[in-house]
Amino acid sequence: MTRLKSPAALERARKQILSQRDSQRPCVAICTGTGCQSYGCNKVYTAFVNELANTGLQGKVDIRQTGCPGFCERGTIVVITPEEICYLRVKPEDVPEIVSTTLVGKRLVDRLLYEDSNGKKIAYEGDIPFYKRQMRIVLGNNRLLDPKSIDDYIALGGYSALAKALFKMSPEQVLEEVKRANLRGRGGGGFPAGTKWETTRNAPGTTKYVIVNADEGDPGAFMDRALLEGNPHCILEGLIIGAYAIGSHEGYVYVRQEYPMATENVSIAIGQAREYGLLGKGILGSGFNFDVTVHRGAGAFVSGESSALMTALEGMVGEPRPKYIHTAVSGVRGQPSNLNNVETWANVPLIVNKGSKWFTSIGTAGSKGTKIFALVGKVNNTGLVEVPMGMTLREIIYDIGGGLRQGKKFKAVQTGGPSGGCIPESLLDLPVDFDELTKVGSMMGSGGMIVMDEDNCMVDIARYFTSFLGDESCGKCVSCRVGIGQMIKILDRICQGKGQRGDIELLEELCEVVRDVSLCALGKTAPNPVLSTIRYFRDEYEAHIEQKRCPAGVCKALVSYYIKPDKCQGCQICLRDCPVEAITGGKGLVHIIDQNKCTRCGTCLEVCPSRFAAVARLSGEPVPAAPPLGTKVVRQKGKQ
């Protein structure tokens, strides 16, 4: 392909690509996102290639390896267009049947379809409840294109927003449109992107930088990963438009080392964009020059913080700088640098193409557009969900997420990544947007959403997230390094049953110093997990401290397992499965757990047949004395 030298050339290229494609020709779209990779999607792809060749369908059916559509729970996902038949959990051995039944026979393979809770099969992607309630304006294209193909992106109208911005709008008009759209940063802070752009645009400096923050590091979050892997061109297009509005000619994509496929796909995309004249000198024949470099992060969570990211870009240790002067004014090498998250950039082409009016028609008063969440934890349908701002937590967790696993009782949902907060059941009808989440002591963050059930101990959860932040703190501020360190020690001792009266208050006192004195956002938000769990689950802290009881039965030091002599049938299952041989007894004899040997792994409770239910988990109460060794079991009626 030669360089595209005008918007008309781009449009001609698009028409040419479309003319070589038949929209009615069947296409098998196979998700090759990271989730499906671990299910073995590459083998599914190979199986399709071979099977189509064997059946003589080669050239009559298209195969496309796409990015992640989000329903990671059910990978490998295969969608057959134009009908949009959605097959889930596809294995290589299912492929011949799909080809013969669906592609040749035009019938459905029932067993691979989604089945709702009433046992009804759903054939089409759009009808599956997980997708039905979503609004996939950003993520939706992932399924429609091969991320390694710029032609696929152009065929979908890609880079038309860039053409519009460069030839029909002044940089000021682009800036104004983004400001009017009230696009708020999707990476955590929720700061209005347009305002940030304007700051960088107006700041004095010889060189101005625009940067994509793809240092996504929250445990359980993969929104940015899926976008960068699945649709890198839309992020590039947003970045180029932003650079035009700001007056920047140099950009970076800061992507973490741990995302090899994202790095590969965005690097390929940059190469293709250069070849097509969409990056480099005189983009699309305009007078605007801009190019991008990919910078791989070295794997520090704190490098997602703007000033730390820029320090790392300069080749130094990724450590936040004091930033009473914003990086938008003084960032990379002291120059004005505008940093936005992957998802924020991905929204830009949409705003330019469809207008701020369209964008602001979605969402709530203060938060516009959609947000992608990584819905994970104890929920039936885990994966990526994109919903309009303002949808309630209940709708996301129950209507899209399909409710909790194994009918367990909901306890809390943790939003905003490790420095977010835990939201209790009483607030499930909270509309999800930037301000509402902050009000209840949590935050939007980059969009992590971890669902917890009755089996989660909230003190243990607070300890987990605080430990994560303690490890990931750069260690410079005393308040953050030592403050979080001491918080971890207190949480540890509470979980070990060594908590003392006054520990909750001491934690609160520490939280205040960590929040007020630490310089960067990591320290300032680090107390959230502890403060929100104290706020909503204080009773659990008190149970640990006062009664030495872990209500959820998680904290090993506070639980013990006991075999009820009147229930035990002497079946020897737990005895055999105990990994530390702590259970004694014999066939027909009451089993006894040696409390000194027991490691509280809970295996005995799991394996004891439910019809016996002989193993009990105790917490906060003494273990009853065991019967003498050799006691015969009491046979239950109707059982042998």
Binding site: Y324, G470, D471, E472, C474, G475, V478
Partner: protein
């Protein structure tokens, strides 16, 4: 240089643009306590002791005075109950790992910390690191590790003998006084700064 007028603890202070609040206060004879700060070195903003409350136009917030530049019309408070409480907690946190700063901590009303920590003496104020890098330009020592594992060490312990000039000028800068003033041979006998701070002899 443009003159900037601000108010610190009720006192009208005139200072120059580009100065920090800490510098402006000190030039007016108002003491803001510090620990990691040293006038010869670039501010490090790590210990948090110099925290002050600033307000302008009704909104107030807490900032570190060693890195916050003066602004016209800024109102600064250096001794509110909240600030005093925060400083006390910071001293308490540092004292837990550094008994060497006991005298200093006492000035903030901290006798015995409520926390237990591994005794390392070093409070990671970075004075020695900054002196070696900024003034001596030797770059022999640096921070190593992250979070609770952060420590001061020679850049590369294998080559440190060639890099460290053995000037011993960092000794006197250490607020804990634990970098020994006398060693027998060059380069601290091959010890890391952290080894020396451990104060194996004195405990």
């Amino acid at each position: 240089m443009n003159k900037v007028k601000l108010n610190i603890d009720g006192k009208e202070v005139e200072s120059e643009e580009g100065m920090t609040v800490l510098e402006a206060a000190r030039s007016a004879g108002i003491n803001i306590p510090t620990l990691c700060y040293h006038e010869k070195l670039a501010p490090h903003a790590a210990c948090g002791i110099c925290i002050v409350e600033i307000s302008r136009g009704g909104r107030s917030r807490l900032v570190l005075s060693c890195i916050y530049n003066v602004e016209d019309g800024l109102v600064v408070k250096t001794q509110t109950p909240k600030l005093i409480k925060h400083r006390k907690m910071l001293m308490e946190l540092m004292l837990a790992s550094s008994p060497a700063i006991a005298d200093l901590a006492r000035q903030y009303g901290v006798e015995k910390p409520r926390f237990e920590d591994k005794i390392t003496q070093c409070v990671l104020c970075g004075r020695c690191v900054r002196y070696c890098n900024e003034v001596k330009k030797a770059n022999a020592i640096t921070f190593v590790g992250r979070g609770i594992n952060r420590r001061v060490a020679f850049v590369d312990e294998a080559v440190s003998k060639g890099v460290c000039m053995d000037c011993r000028e960092c000794f006197g800068l250490c607020p804990t006084g634990k970098i020994p003033r006398e060693t027998d041979s060059a380069c601290f006998d091959g010890l890391t700064i952290q080894d020396i701070l451990f104060d194996k002899k004195g405990k």
